[in-house]
């Protein structure tokens, strides 16, 4: 009955996992081993203190940060094992990420600035500005032109744009009856146009930029989020259907015209015919998952490093190889719980802006996970996108924590009953 008071509280499980993981990292051996132990202590203290602050001050949902920190811990362990230098950097990004989470939560929780009406113009404009900057000054890394360099740091503007898009959608759906389309002439006739077309137009502009950047994973993600918004917040089923058909036709035309997409589709249908070439990545990923068995080879005892891009897109294969299918399923379950909490927060709140924003953020987490895990296990065609919280990458981790901070802020705005639940658990 009083299990929540026992030493087996979920937060202690996260801390224990980190404790053991950092001991293992210490023995993994490299010149800065002692450094790792100190960073490990810092990580353990950060998670412990932040969790207790959330709990003591009733800052909304207590599970979001716990699940996120568990996923990050698995990620840090895996990345350190793949490349100690990346691992150290990931730990620092994690520290920065929690700070961003904290600040976003405070800022969005205390101010109404992000849901104020003028922002409905600001969000798309900032997004388009960032997209243009990326297109003009961007660097092409791995086929996609999605990086810009600011003061020597490479950042991926798309990671922020997807959040701005979700906030824009939130403002749109909360103020849609106020949106007045004055003199819209469609084919010479002045017709009263449903405001949903404006939202679709903005969404397709975003999509167009992503296609120009050849950020296919991003394009698929954005379309799925757009589609879910239409499904959840708009009741024109025929419009939803038209968009679905439009996407299928667009995808098919893209397949016919673009060599890039053809390769993706063919390596999905049959990676085995060109194992040494185009199908190399996906076949190595499948071998790695297969090699793991139930409990995996053990951290550091497998060979996941032969998969290209294993520390970002293919980290799930590495987890499956070294922590086994149980580890892989556990990661998927953790994302399930995260999405469940997100949808719950979205369902409970009455304000449409917060509802749409939390729904969109949850959709980002869920679809991103589906796209990349589906990709590496050859369930859907592979498109490069990061696994939230686990993949290596500063931009990705920071923006994910930003999104989590926003979700946490929404959960605190929920009815006070949600926060009293925490108290009753004592």
């Amino acid at each position: 009955m009083n299990g929540s008071n026992s030493i087996f509280k979920p937060v202690r499980m996260v801390l224990l996992f980190n404790f053991l993981a950092f001991i293992l990292m210490y023995f993994y051996g490299s010149e800065n081993s002692l450094n790792v132990l100190l960073l490990g202590l810092a990580v353990i203290f950060t998670i412990g203190i932040l969790y207790h602050i959330i709990k003591v001050y009733d800052w909304g949902d207590e599970y979001l940060f716990l699940i996120a920190s568990m996923l990050c811990s698995i990620g840090i362990l895996m990345i350190y094992r793949l490349d100690p230098d990346y691992g150290i950097r990931q730990i620092k990004w994690f520290g920065l990420g929690t700070a961003v989470f904290f600040l976003t939560f405070i800022f969005l929780g205390k101010t109404k600035f992000w849901s104020s009406k003028p922002m409905i113009y600001a969000y798309p404009l900032i997004s388009i500005f960032l997209f243009s900057v990326t297109l003009i000054f961007g660097q092409r890394i791995g086929g996609a032109k999605n990086w810009i360099e600011i003061f020597g740091i490479n950042v991926q503007p798309w990671e922020i744009i997807k959040l701005l898009y979700v906030f824009y959608a939130g403002l749109f759906f909360s103020n849609r009856e106020l949106i007045y389309l004055p003199t819209v002439n469609l084919k010479g006739k002045a017709i009263k146009i449903n405001s949903i077309f404006l939202f679709s137009l903005i969404s397709y502009v975003h999509l167009g930029f992503l296609v120009l950047q050849r950020e296919w994973g991003g394009a698929v993600l954005l379309f799925l989020i757009f589609f879910s918004f239409l499904y959840a917040f708009d009741n024109h089923r025929s419009f939803l259907f038209v968009n679905g058909v439009f996407a299928l036709v667009g995808g098919f035309v893209g397949y016919l015209l673009l060599d890039h997409i053809q390769v993706r589709i063919w390596t999905w249908i049959d990676p085995w015919s060109d194992m040494a070439g185009k199908g190399y990545q996906i076949t190595q990923s499948l071998f790695a998952i297969g090699a793991g068995g139930f409990f995996g080879t053990g951290i550091g005892l497998g060979n996941p490093e032969i998969i290209p891009e294993v520390h970002t897109d293919f980290i799930f294969s590495a987890i499956c190889e070294e922590m086994g299918i149980f580890g892989g399923v556990a990661v998927v379950l953790l994302y399930f719980l995260l999405v469940y909490r997100g949808i719950k927060i979205s369902l409970r709140i009455d304000n449409i802006f917060y509802k749409a924003a939390s729904f969109g953020i949850t959709a980002i987490f869920g679809f991103q996970t589906f796209i990349i895990i589906g990709g590496v296990i050859k369930l859907v065609p592979l498109t490069g996108i990061t696994l939230p919280f686990i993949s290596y990458g500063g931009s990705s981790l920071i923006s994910t924590f930003l999104a989590l901070g926003a979700l946490q802020a929404v959960s605190m705005k929920n009815s006070f009953s949600a926060s009293k639940v925490v108290e009753a658990d004592e």
């Binding site: 299990g3 293992l24 599970y63 951290i299 556990a330 658990d425």
Partner: protein, 152 residues
């Protein structure tokens, strides 16, 4: 050294992660579980508490009716048989006890008190009759007891 540690810890990691998942699911379950007997028929001989408030106006989960088939405590804490996360309830607010052929309500030292027919329940408790209104926290219940106990 590393190999031994790694091959041992892989099991430990799996156990920790799954125990973590179990813990989270358990806590979520405790959050959403309230004592509910909605499947039961109303003709049962057990009395029940019927909620008068409109459920939509309350921003916490509460059932339309709570059956009293045995001694039940009501409050915010998960230790109670009837858990209602009303912030105006104390963690252990009131207790419903059946003795000497009567149902009694006792105040378990709650902050905001228990009222039966608008009278505060004192330490000695208050017997309940069919149709009595019970007020606790933000909630108003009617005590419904269709069964004629004097026959027994």
């Amino acid at each position: 050294m590393f190999e031994i540690l790694a091959s041992f810890l892989k099991y430990v990691f799996i156990i920790i992660i799954y125990y973590f998942i179990y813990g989270i699911i358990r806590l979520i379950y405790l959050d959403i579980s309230t004592t509910t007997h909605t499947g039961r028929s109303l003709s049962s001989k057990d009395p029940y508490l019927k909620l008068i408030n409109r459920r939509e106006s309350l921003n916490f989960k509460v059932e339309e009716s709570y059956f009293l088939d045995s001694t039940k405590t009501i409050g915010r804490s998960n230790k109670n048989q009837i858990i209602i996360k009303d912030p105006f309830l104390s963690s252990e607010h009131a207790e419903f006890v059946f003795k000497n052929n009567y149902w009694y309500v006792f105040d378990l030292g709650s902050k905001n008190g228990v009222y039966v027919n608008n009278l505060k329940v004192e330490d000695i408790g208050q017997s309940l009759n069919d149709g009595d209104t019970i007020h606790l926290g933000q909630l108003d219940f009617i005590f419904v007891d269709q069964f004629d106990r004097s026959d027994r």
